[in-house]
Each structure stands twice: as structure tokens, then as C-alpha cells.
Amino acid sequence: MSGVLELLAAISLVLGGALTFIAALGVLRMPDVYIRMHASTKAGTLGVLLIALALVLMGADAGVVSKAIAVFAFVLLTAPIGAHLIARAAWRGGQRPWQWRPRTDTDVEPSGRP
């Protein structure tokens, strides 16, 4: 039984690490601030969830498990609010969402700036 739990914990650890990696990749490579925060908020939250889930699966005592659940609950509650606030501030600051357009020779970097 503990072998199964260990296998599940290992899988969720690797998946969580990969998801946080994808989140950071999105933040680095995506073209504008709204798409970047979409990558970081969703994939990052799920990455933290999976790593905390591994700790819950391997958890020895109730204190560790409850703290891991609390960590995840806080991240789950606060990440959307933070992303919403930054998006609102960026919108008010004059940034407009990026739209795809065919590349021309004069394009240096695609951007959604007005």
C-alpha cells in the first residue's frame, strides 16, 4: 500500500515540477502581459497543488498534512485575485491585448501596445 502511495507521490511531484516549468516558460515566451499572467496563474497554481499533494500522500503526521493543505488553499485563493488586480491595473495603464497579425519585415517584436 505504501508503495502505491509512494508511486503516486512521485508522479505528482514530477508533474507539479513540469507544470511550474511550463508556467515559467509561458511567462518568458508569451507575447503580452495578459497571456503571460494566464500562463503563470493557472499552470503555477496547479503545479503548487501537485507538489503539496505529494507531501499529503507522503505525510507522516496530521500537522504536516494540514499545513500542506493550508499552503495550497492560500495559493488557490490568492492567485486569481492577484492576477485580476494586475490585469485591471495593466488595462487602466493603457495596455491592450495582443492580437495576431502576419509578420512583416518591419516587425521587431509582436506587441499589443496601442
Binding site: 511531484l13 515540477g17 503571460r36 507538489i51 499552503v71 495559493v75 494586475i86 495596455q95
Partner: protein, 103 residues
């Protein structure tokens, strides 16, 4: 080996693989934090960095078996949220933003 761990076998490899992913994520988020180009981009990168540190502390608590790292992760999840809110307010209240301009 990225993290010295008490775990053996499958879990040790999984912890090290996850730590490798997280280190790569740190590097990419830090690059975005440095190159910007606008203030909201940097705030998003800082938010992601906080989340990455929370994930890394949780991973470290699992790898070493020291529960105090989990307390640190819990505190950082809350403080990081406050920092994000403060930065968002700062971006909101900064008059006449010129996107792309270096700050």
C-alpha cells in the same frame, strides 16, 4: 543531485527531477523579471517567483522531512499575496504610464 535528501529510490529521483524543473522555472521567471518590458510584466514575474519559492519550500519540506520549511511556505504564500496587491495598486496609481518605457 540537486537536493540532499533522506529519501531513497523512486522518491529521491522524483524530488531531484522536480527540483531541476523548478530551477529552470526560476531562471526563466528571473529573465522575464529583468527584461520587462513594462511594469505589469515585472509584477507578473514577481508573482510567479513567489509561487515558485512556495513550491520549492514545500518540496524541500518533503525532501528533508523538516516541517519548519512548510511554515515558511505558508507565511510566504500570504506575504507574497500582499506584495502582489501592493504592486498592483502601485501600477494602478502610477499616472501616465508609457508602455515599453524603461523604469
Amino acid at each position: 543531485m540537486i537536493i540532499e535528501t533522506e529519501l531513497t529510490g523512486l522518491m529521491a529521483s522524483a524530488v531531484n527531477l522536480a527540483a531541476l524543473f523548478l530551477v529552470g522555472a526560476f531562471v526563466m521567471a528571473a529573465v522575464r523579471l529583468i527584461i520587462g518590458p513594462t511594469l505589469p510584466d515585472r509584477v507578473v514575474a514577481l508573482d510567479l517567483l513567489t509561487m515558485l519559492v512556495v513550491a520549492f519550500l514545500t518540496l524541500f519540506a518533503l525532501a528533508t522531512g523538516v516541517g519548519a520549511y512548510l511554515d515558511a511556505a505558508l507565511a510566504l504564500a500570504l506575504v507574497g499575496f500582499l506584495a502582489t496587491i501592493a504592486f498592483a495598486r502601485f501600477v494602478d496609481l502610477t499616472p501616465e504610464q508609457n508602455p515599453g518605457e524603461r523604469r
